[in-house]
């Protein structure tokens, strides 16, 4: 499965204008299916909250009146999005530019994937920007109260003691003091190792250098890591990022009990490509968040993986997430902003030599592409929320979504669209109440 690069490129090129030319607002007929495609946002006619907003404004509310600012893990964000660009050549080239755009847009930005040991902590080890260059291009460009930098300590960083180094670095101190830094534990059982410099023996030789390595976690180890970080770094926020594991409910339980500030469930970790199929679907990750909410867990939670547009952000929020973490789409948006995007797209996926040099040129226009892309999501969220009669994204809830399949409806305990003979003709909404799940759905049949 891959992202609809075409669509992301289009947004990067056109910005919010892309929403008006036919395939906007989730009506896209792109063959790629987001895992949330079978969940629909369904606007009502009756919108009492719009009336409330109208009374406040003394005019008919518009989409521009929708508030999108949220608080995630103690960070104030201008919209419910964090950027966690994956590692690799493109991210390397565009790192500081991505950071600047995120800062200007007031969204959180995540740094990780062994940047410090590979590219250098402060002094460049290669021709690519060092860890500090990237971090400071974000922090120095923050405007007002919004934003936050999330710093992972990768496997190689453990030896580097990246967190300790940052914590005693005078350049970071003012930002730590302002509450703008989070350390993010990566609870991943499997990651892509690099045999060359991680282990004495070379288990990777059979797999060509890079190989899926396993890391040991137990409930006690996870709890211990969280406690120790809390103890050692009391002035930073503490985030946890984890992947599509079958025991996510327990992970969330422990992490929130131990007091992490935010949890991100990544439905499509980078290592996934090496172990296709060996994971729970991203949908199940989201359902873990949903279940955690039902159990009264209030810790900030984010979802990531195959989500890239306004509707998917709003659906995620409706189902319990506080924000969406964007990974790969950030890179595509970067590339898509270029006049050469058509060419870049053609070459993507091919192992072309031309791509490298083309990327260098395309990346110069990264700024415009990412900015356009993020703005398109922002406008899209506002238009949709307004249609749902909600004037703040955090008021979107389960009543705003329906499922096309019975199973999904059961998983999330939401309304279900029964559509024999096709959609949208001849369908009915079946309302499911939390306590009424066991009962026959027809008992709660809604007006057709």
């Amino acid at each position: 499965m891959s992202y609809p690069i075409e669509e992301i490129f289009r947004r990067a090129r056109l910005g919010s204008a892309s929403l008006l030319d036919g395939i906007a607002l989730g009506a896209d007929a792109d063959p790629m299916k987001s895992f949330l495609d079978d969940i629909l946002l369904l606007p009502p006619l009756f919108t009492p909250q719009r009336l409330e907003k109208g009374i406040e404004l003394l005019r008919e509310p518009l989409y521009v009146d929708v508030g999108t600012e949220v608080e995630v893990g103690g960070f104030k964000l201008r919209m419910p999005i964090t950027c966690a660009p994956p590692g690799g050549r493109i991210a390397d080239l565009s790192g500081p530019r991505i950071a600047e755009v995120c800062a200007e847009m007031g969204i959180a930005y995540s740094l990780g994937e062994n940047i410090a040991p590979v590219r250098g902590y402060d002094v460049r080890l290669t021709d690519q920007p060092s860890f500090k260059e990237r971090a400071l291009s974000y922090l120095e460009n923050l405007r007002g109260e919004y934003g936050g930098l999330i710093i992972q300590q990768g496997v190689k960083d453990e030896d580097l003691k990246l967190w300790e180094r940052i914590y005693s670095d005078p350049d970071f101190d003012p930002y730590i003091e302002r509450g703008l830094i989070a350390f993010e534990i990566k609870a991943e059982q499997i990651y892509l190792g690099d045999a060359k410099d991680e282990f004495m023996d070379d288990p990777g030789s059979a797999l060509g250098g890079r190989y899926p390595a396993s890391r040991t976690f137990t409930e006690e180890i996870l709890a211990g890591q969280i406690r120790l970080l809390r103890n050692n770094f009391p002035r930073v926020r503490l985030f946890l990022r984890t992947g599509p594991y079958r025991d996510l409910d327990r992970v969330i339980e422990i992490a929130s009990r131990e007091g992490v500030d935010a949890i991100t469930l990544d439905g499509e970790g980078a290592w996934i490509s090496s172990l296709a199929g060996a994971r729970v679907p991203a949908l199940v990750c989201l359902s873990s968040i949903s279940r955690a909410r039902e159990r009264g867990i209030e810790t900030s939670m984010m979802i990531s993986g195959m989500l890239y547009d306004g509707p998917s952000v709003l659906k995620s929020i409706a189902l319990g997430a506080d924000a969406v973490s964007l990974g790969e789409p950030v890179i595509y948006a970067c590339l898509g902003g270029s006049k050469l995007s058509g060419l870049v797209k053609k070459l993507l996926g091919r192992n072309s030599r031309g791509l490298e040099s083309l990327l260098g040129v395309a990346i110069k226009e990264c700024r415009r592409g990412l900015m356009n892309y993020l703005k398109s999501i922002e406008v899209e969220m506002k238009v949709l929320a307004s249609a749902l009669g909600k004037y703040h994204v955090n008021r979107i809830c389960k009543e705003d979504v329906c499922s096309l399949s019975r199973e999904l409806a059961d998983l999330f305990r939401i309304k279900y669209i029964y559509a024999p003979g096709g959609f949208p003709e001849n369908w009915e909404i079946i309302q499911r109440y939390l306590e009424g799940l066991e009962h026959s759905p027809h008992a709660d049949l809604m007006h057709r």
């Binding site: 300590q153 453990e158 030896d159 003691k161 967190w163 300790e164 180094r165 914590y167 005693s168 005078p170 101190d173 534990i185 282990f199 004495m200 040991t216 976690f217 137990t218 006690e220 180890i221 709890a223 211990g224 890591q225 969280i226 406690r227 120790l228 970080l229 809390r230 103890n231 050692n232 770094f233 009391p234 002035r235 131990e258 007091g259």
Partner: protein
Amino acid sequence: MISLIFWSEDVPTMITREYIPVEPEALSGDIFRIVSHPIMQEVYRFRHIIARAVRDFLDKEGFVEFDPIMIGPVTDPGTRGAYEFRIPYYGREYRIMRSGILYKQLLAAAMEEGKVYFFYPNLRHEPLDAGKTGRHLVEFVQIDLEVRDADHLEVMKIAERLIKHVIDHLRDYEDRLRRIWEFFGSKRPFLPEISLPLRRMTHEEAVDILMEHARRGEVIEELEKRFNVKKPERRLSYKAEIPWEWEWYLSKINEQPFFIQDYPKGARGFYDREYPNRPGILMDFDLLAPEGHGELSSGAAREYDASRVFARMKESGENPELYKWYLEFLRDHGRPTAGFGIGMERLVKYICDLPSVHLARPAPKVPGVHSP
């Protein structure tokens, strides 16, 4: 933070009109003037007298002194976010010791006497906020000892006898000490009479006491003002280390040195042993000085079973691969040991009743300050 300059009109004429900067930044100034100041010379002499008293006590107890091992492939993880210093070492990167804990376990297990100590210089790149506590230095010395086949309760008895020995020994010098006290504005009339056993409270009891005091508005106000923290009452936790401001407070309301024992697991490194029958609680302790001087010493029974240590390293996010020599030593020769380290500068600060630990040694390295 502490006031800029301590000035006393009551000191002998020889040093009237001379002052010693208490603000660490001022140390980058005229270093010779500071280290040659008569009062500072006295402080340095007392550091020497204290060290001699410590050695005298430990030697009589049958300890063997070792010279510190300064660099190695790995240093202990430390806690509270201090970074380690690194140096190139024949194509590898070695660490300068943050403490001698790994080596003292090795030597306590190896030596026939089973009792070893060091005057261990440690380097810790402390976070900047530690520079404001008046208790943290980047470069400092620990009196670091370890005893084989002992647990934390046994070494706590050594620690309290050691403190008593040192203070009793210094009683002969009380007149000279009083000049230092007066110079720095101390209200202390005499050296305290140390009565053993010292008070012992568990971490849980300590947090209980502080939670009780946290209900009083004037306590919160004092801490907020003195330490520039917001809502200190929210920083108290049964699961973590006692925050600096509260440790100061607890120390202030006590008149004798006292122990806090049984810390929760998240508060300490992998080497503090977990009670076999009380999961999550460590067989460890801190020895705190009274009068607001705070922690003097930290100690524990050690986790010595290699498999337990491996699991604990995972819990603290350490890479066991780096600790290969240590894990192999434990696997093949691991024995129960217990020990503690006393911060030399903190001990001098307490005995001389100095306003800040950086006055306890020449050319002190205060976190964030570029001094000689």
